[in-house]
Amino acid sequence: MSFFWFVRHALVAQFTRVPPLDQFVRHMVDAGVGSIGLLTLLIFFAGLSLAVQGYAAFVRFGGQEFLGLFCGIGGIRELYPVMAAVICGARIGANLAASLANMQISEQVEALEVMGIDPMNYLVAPRLWAVSLAMPLLCAYADVVGLAASYLAAVHQLGVNPGNFMAQLRGIVGWEDLAAGVFKGVAFGWLVAIVACYHGYRSAKRDGAEGVGIATNRAIVHSAVLCIVLNMILSAILYV
């Protein structure tokens, strides 16, 4: 089974039928709500780090008053969406791949097939929908948390003027940046889900427990790499 065959069938399954709603809701909650704790923690530290590093870099040539601008561009346009994608992608992708691989090695997927239910419709489509809708929400949420953290670090720790910080932020970050972030989020979410479903779906009974580990590992690595590369491509298209 090749990746392109899988993608084609997944797309057909995703767009020709209404996915089973209970499955969709479950995976939406799993992917979205389940990632919030982790995401908050990590993006908060990333936001702090971004401000501290920006400050450390700018202070060398006396440009520390541009910190707001730096945090806006660096964070909203680049760091937070891609970090949300990589972190949540690792978590969500690993879960999807592991659960599908586990269903394959215990013949649950074949059981579905024998019951006359297409696993592409029943298993893959709702996961694709759920993750591609959860990810942009997570990216938007990451923007908020990250900016708040950067603001805290800049104003309370590094002594940057708060009015100045916000003014710069407003000057550089517009609605189109947030829209671009959401767009990136949908793309990242779909990518994470399709890669994870592919690796999980491809396992077979004879792979055993090892197969679950391999599928999980591949899903994590491939989705992280693909998100980072896709981010570069999207940034090049959107901002150059």
């Binding site: 780090s49 690792a90 978590r91 592991a98 427990a209 679950v212 570069m232």
Partner: protein
């Protein structure tokens, strides 16, 4: 919430005592050097491409976004003085470590977890082979050494891709780029990067071994261990990264 905090510290305690156990096993033999070197070789090969693919785009994005910012002030010549420390100190070590966690860490945890759920770990123990010495220590040592090595490669790669998107793509003066590139990089940046990688790499190997050995719940448990290894190490890397940045800023380095 309080229960969660309690559980967190209980887990931390277990990991620390596991680390002590691993250290003890490393000091007292027997040591499985051949296995360690084989594993390091395998993991290094497997990590090379993902790590490279993760770091190169970051250099590119810093250059692209940096150019657009510095252009506003007509100061695009000094872009490289921001790019180099960011890559050296920050993005290359952090991303190399995250990708080592994703690739090497999750595969080590999955391998050990598979052995665990199949009863092979118990079988080793029954045959009087210490599972920590035999399966955990080689992975730990391998991760400890491959991460800094990978970091050296990715630092170079990040700079090259940053250069590519700054000079040929965005038309920054090549002379200014190279002149400013080293103006802000010190030996400290180099050592900080390598030191962080050493620490993060060890943490990846340790957490992978720890979670792998604790795997329960059959095949699904294997996936969970692989997943948790990555999540825990990413948390550690980001938090430690921030603390190190703060420390360096305080020290004025």
């Amino acid at each position: 919430m309080i229960a969660g905090v309690r559980r967190f510290f209980a887990l931390l305690g277990e990991i620390l005592s596991f680390a002590v156990e691993v250290a003890r096993c490393m000091i007292q033999g027997p040591r499985f050097w051949a296995e360690t070197i084989r594993l390091a070789d395998v993991l290094m090969r497997r990590c090379l491409i993902p790590v490279g693919l993760a770091v190169a785009p970051v250099g590119a994005v810093i250059s692209l976004q940096g150019v657009s910012v510095f252009r506003m002030f007509g100061a695009d010549g000094i872009l490289s003085s921001m790019l180099a420390p960011a890559i050296f100190r920050q993005y290359s070590p952090a991303l190399a470590s995250v990708m080592v966690a994703a690739q090497a860490g999750s595969s080590i945890a999955a391998r050990i977890g598979t052995m665990k759920v199949r009863g092979q770990i118990d079988a080793l123990a029954v045959m009087s082979v210490d599972p920590i010495r035999y399966v955990v220590v080689p992975g730990f040592v391998a991760c400890l050494f491959i991460t800094p090595l990978l970091n050296i490669l990715t630092t170079a790669l990040g700079l090259v891709s940053g250069w590519f998107f700054a000079v040929p793509v965005s038309g920054i003066n090549p002379g200014a780029f190279t002149a400013n590139l080293y103006s802000q990089v010190t030996l400290v940046d180099l050592w900080v990067g390598i030191g962080k990688c050493f620490f993060f790499g060890g943490a990846v190997g340790l957490i992978a071994g720890f979670l792998g050995l604790r795997t329960t719940g059959g095949a699904a448990g294997v996936g969970k261990s692989a997943n948790n290894t990555v999540v825990y190490t990413i948390i550690l890397i980001l938090v430690a990264d921030y603390l190190v940045s703060m420390l360096l800023l305080e020290l004025g380095l």
